[in-house]
């Protein structure tokens, strides 16, 4: 295990930023830290870096307790959401900065800086100052600095958020490859579930200052342990329906009937059913366990797909469908949810495993 937290928590005045967290990240892999804004991603990263000290608990790196060790003495690199470069230094000097501090000779340093610059397509701009670069180039400079340092731990705190869409897509593809060869443990924070899925590797979901689940990205996505994880890993938000267990089976709100067989081994009567927007279908299927009629509020169309925002009882749901759907607000729409696409949580918001 490369990076571990033991009983870590961080409190600033009365505000809890990180609640008791135990986590150990796999070494040398790309880890995604996924969670909505204010879920504590940045706080956790700052604790990883040693920029902040935890209120309780400890941080371990490569089997050593590094809690309280100065940032300068840890071999790590960090890239922020803002474009942070040293304004008085050229791109070359910016990338070379960590190596200069390590007192590398010019002949050792130059090839490494040039290689890093080449990987991030900065070679033509080596003599420019950061403020003479575009936003994308500035962030590439910061990434190149993190890359050439040869750090054991690379922290990327939403580095692509301030870039335009095209650049973001391009860098998103490159990033895991760039750092794969360095053998560094990379932690990449993001708010976007599909970014986590694209990046692959491992994902730790966060919600309200807690790491809710950590594992291979696809596993976390398919089998979230609890509702919080499922919510963090769903964009548009997870659709939710409250259920009650009755003698005949399950019953939804407003007497809605579900074709879900009753199972007796779990002694709980109240459940939460979650289904992702692309699992809320507008066409029926033999395996459907749920049929209901919702009211359209808004339809968002993005070229080849549509996001239909619906109201059913007290709930606001989203259905994600292929094709362009022109649906006027107020229209009634038949909706179907299939058994294999449901996530059933108990009253403690824990996943009820393989119930169907």
């Amino acid at each position: 295990m490369s990076l571990e937290f033991h009983e870590l928590s961080k409190q600033v005045y009365d505000e809890v930023h990180i609640a008791h967290t135990d986590l150990s990240l796999n070494p040398g892999v790309f880890n995604v830290l996924l969670g909505p804004t204010l879920s504590g991603k940045t706080s956790l990263m700052r604790l990883m870096a040693g920029l902040d000290q935890p209120s309780t608990g400890s941080v371990w790196f490569k089997g050593q307790n590094v809690t309280g060790i100065a940032v300068q003495r840890r071999n790590l690199a960090m890239v922020y959401q803002q474009f942070i470069n040293f304004p008085n230094m050229s791109v070359f000097e910016n990338i070379a900065s960590p190596l200069r501090i390590q007192k590398l000779s010019e002949s050792q340093l130059r090839p490494r800086v040039e290689k890093g610059a080449e990987l991030l397509k900065l070679t033509p701009y080596m003599h420019r100052k950061p403020n003479e670069l575009s936003g994308g180039q500035q962030q590439r400079t910061a990434l190149a600095r993190a890359l050439v340092k040869g750090a054991d731990l690379v922290l990327l705190d939403e580095p692509l958020v301030n870039l335009d869409y095209k650049l973001r897509e391009e860098l998103r593809e490159e990033l895991p490859r760039l750092f794969a060869d360095t053998g560094a443990t990379v932690v990449y924070a993001t708010t976007e579930p599909h970014e986590a899925l694209l990046m692959g590797g491992y994902t730790a979901t966060m919600r309200e200052g807690r790491v809710t689940q950590y594992g291979p990205t696809h596993e976390v996505f398919r089998k979230p342990h609890d509702l919080a994880t499922a919510k963090a890993f769903s964009d548009p938000p997870l659709n939710i329906l409250n259920l009650k267990r009755t003698a005949q089976g399950f019953e939804g709100e407003q007497g809605l009937s579900l074709k879900l067989p009753p199972f007796q081994n779990v002694p709980v009567d109240e459940y939460i059913l979650g289904f992702r927007p692309h699992h809320l279908q507008i066409q029926g299927n033999a395996k459907d366990i749920l049929e209901l009629s919702g009211e359209v509020t808004v339809t968002e169309i993005t070229g080849s797909e549509s996001f239909i925002h619906l109201k059913w009882a007290e709930h606001d749901w989203v259905a994600h469908t292929q094709g362009v759907m022109h649906l006027p607000p107020g229209e009634k729409l038949e909706l179907y949810v299939s058994a294999s696409n449901c996530l059933l949580f108990d009253d403690q918001e824990q996943l009820v495993p393989a119930q169907v």
Binding site: A49, L51, V71, Q72, A77, Y80, P87, N88, I101, R145
Partner: protein
């Protein structure tokens, strides 16, 4: 419409330049011409006044003295204000906002208020009539101003820059001198400019705290009557020369000051 676009700035500049023109005009006249007649330009052009200033030590030493204490003051002010401003911009501590405001209120008191206490104190401890005495007394006004200006510039630098430097392995002193100071160079220029200008034009404390050895130019210049009677031409020449250093400094920092305005600190 086209005429007005050049007319208004012209009128503006004429009004602005009038007193300066008159000063320069007088400096090239003899005292007799100044007192005897009204002339728009020197009829008997003379550089005698300037020659006197550059040859008579009682005159030119005034400039040397002024420049000396102004320089000392600017250096002290910046050396003290840099760490103070860094603390105000980077740390939150008990009463920081009150302290910051209180620092500024120092500037609200007129220098005359402090003339007597400074005079008595410096006399008692033997600092009277030294460069450092004037430089220190001006610090009372310049340090708060410098802290305030620098704090604005420093707060414009994200604290992530500090952290990035630490992560790269910079120690605090390395970061401060190699990265932070260059990053706020414009702010330091602006702060130095304001310290310089205040100290350069301040008359009362400079006059009160000096006697013979370090008499500043402002004091020399304002003794209107000497043994030779009215020397208006000479005084005008001294006044013209007093404007020159300020004009130089403004020329060099004009771009920085624009940046300072953009940051809302000036």
């Amino acid at each position: 419409m086209k005429k007005i676009t050049w007319l208004i700035p012209t009128v503006y500049i004429v009004f602005l330049m009038m007193p300066i023109y008159w000063l320069v005009n007088m400096s090239f006249k003899t005292t007799n011409e100044i007192l005897g007649s009204f002339t728009l330009w020197p009829n008997n052009f003379t550089v005698e006044n300037y020659v006197t200033i550059f040859t008579d030590p009682t005159w030119f030493m005034g400039y040397v003295n002024s420049l000396t204490y102004v320089t000392i003051n600017t250096i002290i002010s910046l050396l003290v204000a840099l760490p103070a401003a860094y603390a105000f911009s980077r740390y939150r501590f008990l009463g920081d906002k009150h302290l910051f405001f209180w620092l500024l209120t120092n500037r609200m008191a007129p220098p005359a208020v402090f003339a007597l206490p400074f005079f008595q104190l410096y006399s008692a401890i033997g600092l009277f009539d030294t460069h450092i005495a004037v430089a220190l007394s001006h610090c009372l006004f310049n340090i708060p101003l410098a802290v305030w200006i620098l704090e604005g510039f420093m707060s414009g630098v994200p604290k992530e820059l500090d952290e990035t430097a630490y992560i790269d392995g910079y120690s605090f002193p390395q970061f401060f001198f190699k990265i932070f100071i260059p990053a706020i160079a414009a702010g330091i220029g602006v702060a130095a400019f304001f310290c310089f200008m205040f100290s350069w034009v301040e008359l009362l404390l400079a006059k009160t705290l000096t006697a013979v050895d370090v008499k500043p130019i402002a004091a020399t210049m304002t003794r209107t009557v000497s043994t030779a009677g009215y020397e208006l031409g000479l005084l005008s020449a001294a006044g013209t020369l007093t404007i020159v250093p300020g004009a130089f400094v403004i020329y060099f920092v004009r771009n920085y000051i624009a940046k300072g305005f953009a940051l809302g600190r000036l």
